[in-house]
Amino acid sequence: MSLRRYWDIARMRLRTLARRDRVDQELDRELHFHLEQQTEENLAAGMTPSQARLAALRRLGGVTQIEEECRDMRRTNYIENFWRDLQYGLRTLRKSPGFTTVILLTLALAIGANSAIFSVIDGVLLRPLPYPGADRIVRIFFHSTVFPKFPLNPFDFRDFRTRLKSFESMAGFTRGDLRLSGAGRPEQFTGFRITAGYFHVLGLAPARGREFNASDEIAGNGQSVILSDRMWRTRLAADPNILGRKITLDAQPFTVVGVMPPGTEHPGNAYHGVANGETVDLWWPFTFRGDPNQRGSHYLEVMARMKPGISAPRAQAEMNAVMAQMRHEHPGALEGWQARVVPLYQEIVGPSERLLLVLLGAVGLVVLIACANAANLLLARATARQREVAVRTALGAGRSRLVQQMLTESLLIALMGGALALAVAAAGVRILVAMLPAGFPRASAIHLNAAVFAFTLLIALATGFLFGLAPALQAARADVQDALRAGSRGAGSHRGHLRLRNGLVVGEVSLACLLLIGAGLMLRSFVKLLRTDPGFRTEHLLTATVSLPDKTYKPAEAPRFWDRLSASLSSVAGIRAAGVGTDLPWTGYDENIGGFLIEGQKAPPGQDFHGRYHAAGPDYFRAVGIPLVRGRFFTAQDGMKAPPVMIINQSMARRYWHGQDAVGGRISFDDHPKESDWLTVVGVVGDVKDRPTSPEAENAFWWPIDQSPVYVNQMSVAVRGSSDPAFLANDLRQAVRQLDPTLAVADIRPMDDIADANISTPRFALFLVALFAGLALTLAAIGIYGVISYAVNQRTREFGLRMALGAQAGDVLVLVLRQGAKLALLGVALGLIGALAFGRVLGSLLYEVRAADPATFAAVAIGATTVAALACYLPARRATTVDPSHALRSE
């Protein structure tokens, strides 16, 4: 096609748009000319002038219609019509402020909630991770039948690093906090010990200096450290000459070799976990020490960057193949382990994905309900406007033109609702972010941004189309003559109309039930969670972490320190018990040991005896509130030289002693124990699960601190008072300072806070789903109210007649309520069936409640029906107050 033609077309349309009057005028003249020609011809044929003109007019047909069609042909009339419809729509909306307020508010809330949830999804799930080429980064774990994700042994890691071909680079990291001593109170900083190439795997580079290389991995090469931007700015005054400077960390000199740029996010880790985000202050080199043939201890977390074109399953297959070789070289070391390669994205956001998708589903239902409501309101108004529509049709408005006008109006409403929704979303996002569960990944990436705006616009347009289509088609289908002929009420003729409205209400009720059941199930599981005995006592308990630098506290000296700290704390007035242990409940502690011996028992093949190991001082259990089930707690007598003893938990006693008394039983960690290598179980304590939502408690045992084979230079301190534990913080700091003024007391938190953080995810989910369900129920109630009240208006005459014939008010009430109940019950039934079908998506968000929980279903059925009945009651009451004589006269 020639350019010329496009130019002609464009010029033509522009002219039609810009000079509409002129074009219309020309059209008029053109038709006029035609008319004259025809008249002349008729005259020539011998008609009288008036006859000739009349015949010509008849021949021409409806001038307006021809003109309208010619305008149609010019295409641009879409734009003109749209503009006219828009103005008309605005005028109509202004004329009925009640209608406008209800519909805009409904849409603003529903769309706003969607946008708010979407902004969370956008930030957490959709936005790429803040690492270049993040899709090639994977986390590497070991897994066995018992442990789904286990860290690696450093020497195994080193072998993998040299042998694997799937990866461009591979790095290990493990938690290593350091204390910075300087002016004022010593402070502890979150640190990681990392191997060479750690930042290369993440695709990051220091803003200043360099990252660690192979020589940093050799012990004795002098300590170096890389600082976070925040640490460099807040603690070292953004010193421009920081590189090469020595700073004292944990009483040792460290040379600063690099500073990371702002926005360096920790990818999150499981073992001594630190949440994903800008949570890490410093990194120092991981060094390979000890005997490379001793490969029992697993604590190194591993990350790698795959070469382009390599997939995670392929990398995993290669790793397992290499592992088979290594099994030959180090018999026994890798028995029972398999490699597991997980994309980093999945590792970071995987646990939140289901929660977010469930929330998106919930708000999606809310917006559908809002659509149904808006459609219902529009339908109700369409009835009122039926005569207007009929008149317009009679005057020659085409059906498609009417649909177009109606849709323009609904889109206008939707867009206004969408604009308000943005305000709702802006507030909503702020509230959401503040409410996010503890440790929620990527919270800092959640913002209102262009994507959220686009999403809001899209949803607004889609809802406008959705809720506008039904009324528009309905109006266009209406029979002109019928409507014009009908009385002032425009009544009677739209059975289909009513059916559509009824259908919408049934749909609304069923969707609301679906949400209510979701909320009900979450409420039930949350209550169960709260009612479950945690196995310890959270109230009046203050916790903290104290760590002793290796340099000043030799392995034998650390236990002395803890004894003295416990003793000094116990003597403080107001402290009822103070204990020291390797960890606290519900803090993610997950140390394990496997392969020990139990006297007189043989482990089933492939299933080592295993358990979480801990060390604890004498008063630890009393302070934390873990009850003694049998035997005794540790005492001061369980010293270094005393006979070795241990305390186990109930789960371990039950699993390994099978209901027999475990006290007096013996365990050894030596493959060929001498008599002195056996540890005697002296006590059995109550179970505490890893997390309140964990399905069951793990096996667990404790060594007395004095006899602990693992280092005890970083311990948790538990102090139980008799009132608000915050008051104990000073006593605790003072007790530590008196013993050693260089020590830092970190993580001072009441146990209640820890417990609270642990149920924050189910609480968050419950709150939002319940909020959405409440919104849904309200909207559905408004919907029922609207339909029934409309029906009552329609039947005023009938009710008047019935009452004139002797029906009592009660009879009429029942009549109306029955109509509403039919809709409500049908909706509830559909909702329950839907919930049965979709309940499974809640899955892991539920705790000890089945998705088809009969109590929840029954409660929702009754509750929703009651609300529906109440919504019908108001119009029903109005029906009973109909004055028969008035009603009969009204038409």
Partner: protein, 111 residues
């Protein structure tokens, strides 16, 4: 609302294009000419003619200008554009093919 025309839209376009391919004409003359040539078999109603003219103009196949008629009156004359000529020959070819094909089918049915 059905179109007040018995002619298929495409056919009407073809007739109009063919008619004005000889000389510029105004709407009334176009309708008259088609009636004459078809010996009154094809009656073009104004309700179909003018929308069609406007459509063809929008598509750039014909151009309109106000000129004086032989009787000295102002009328809107339509004439072919270059693109219109190309379109006409395309539509003519298509029409030939179609009518030939229809003819074949009908004759076969008669036998």
């Amino acid at each position: 609302m059905s179109k007040p025309s018995d002619l298929i839209q495409g056919t009407l376009d073809l007739l109009i294009l063919r008619t004005i391919s000889l000389a510029p004409m105004h709407g009334w003359a176009i309708a008259k000419r088609i009636e004459q040539v078809s010996q009154d078999a094809l009656q073009i109603t104004q309700g179909a003619l003018y929308p069609a003219l406007h459509r063809l103009e929008q598509q750039g196949w014909i151009r309109a200008a106000w000129r004086k008629t032989e009787t000295g009156r102002e009328a809107k004359f339509y004439e072919m554009t270059k693109a219109g000529r190309a379109q006409l020959s395309k539509e003519l070819a298509q029409w030939e093919r179609l009518s030939h094909a229809v003819g074949l089918v009908i004759r076969m049915a008669e036998e």
